[in-house]
């Protein structure tokens, strides 16, 4: 792994932890650069970029983002899958009209994923949606 990849990974990880606090959301302004990382061949980088974008992207970009995440989901580690799922309640809160897209994504995960922890995170999101 190259030095620049490690640096990129560290920076993205810091951004990701920063975004756990909703009030810090407005700080991330270089969305375009993060979108570029989403197409990176390194799965760790693209997974963490997906997780960040779910927290900051615009409504119009959501469909592209979900399509991209579904493509790379099988290569993601369980930790990133959980991180992506944990970002979904916030997406639902921000863009409530996008519930169909999110439901489709969740059902797809329930069908494809074998790990119990991932399914349980998906159920948590559904639970949030209902309540």
């Amino acid at each position: 792994v190259g030095e620049s990849t490690v640096k990129k990974y560290s920076v993205l990880k810091i951004f990701n932890s920063l975004l756990r606090n909703q009030f810090r959301k407005s700080l991330i302004v270089n969305v375009k650069e993060i979108e570029k990382v989403l197409n990176d061949s390194n799965t760790s980088l693209s997974s963490i970029a997906a997780s960040i974008l779910l927290r900051i992207c615009s409504e119009g970009y959501l469909e592209t983002l979900f399509a991209r995440i579904e493509k790379t989901m099988s290569e993601m580690s369980n930790e990133y899958k959980k991180d992506v799922l944990r970002a979904l309640p916030n997406v639902l809160k921000t863009y409530p009209k996008k519930y169909e897209l999110i439901n489709r994504f969740l059902l797809n995960i329930m069908r494809k994923e074998e790990a119990c922890e991932i399914k349980s995170e998906a159920i948590n999101v559904m639970n949030f949606e209902i309540s």
Partner: protein, 109 residues
Amino acid sequence: LNSKDAYVQYHALMLVGDIKRKDVNAYRKILFSLMKQGIVGIAAVQYLRMLREATHDLDCGSPEAKDFINYLSREIRNKEDIVQIEACKLACESPLMSNKELLEVVKIL
């Protein structure tokens, strides 16, 4: 701790941590007194990690909090990448940092 070698400083810091960690006030006092000292490389990374535990319950407007923020603002421009990244990480995690101060950190990252 007065050595110029980063590894000697690192081990000295670890010792200070082991000896003083239980006495929170003394531990914090020692750590804050080291802010003006030239701690470098791996020792600076360890120092920042120790500051994380020592500053999590600081009051927002206290003079110690101001010193801490000034120190972080300096370290995020450190020449060494590992120190810079650790400082940025600590700044982003700290509730003492305002959005205005964090904007600078995000720009650097």
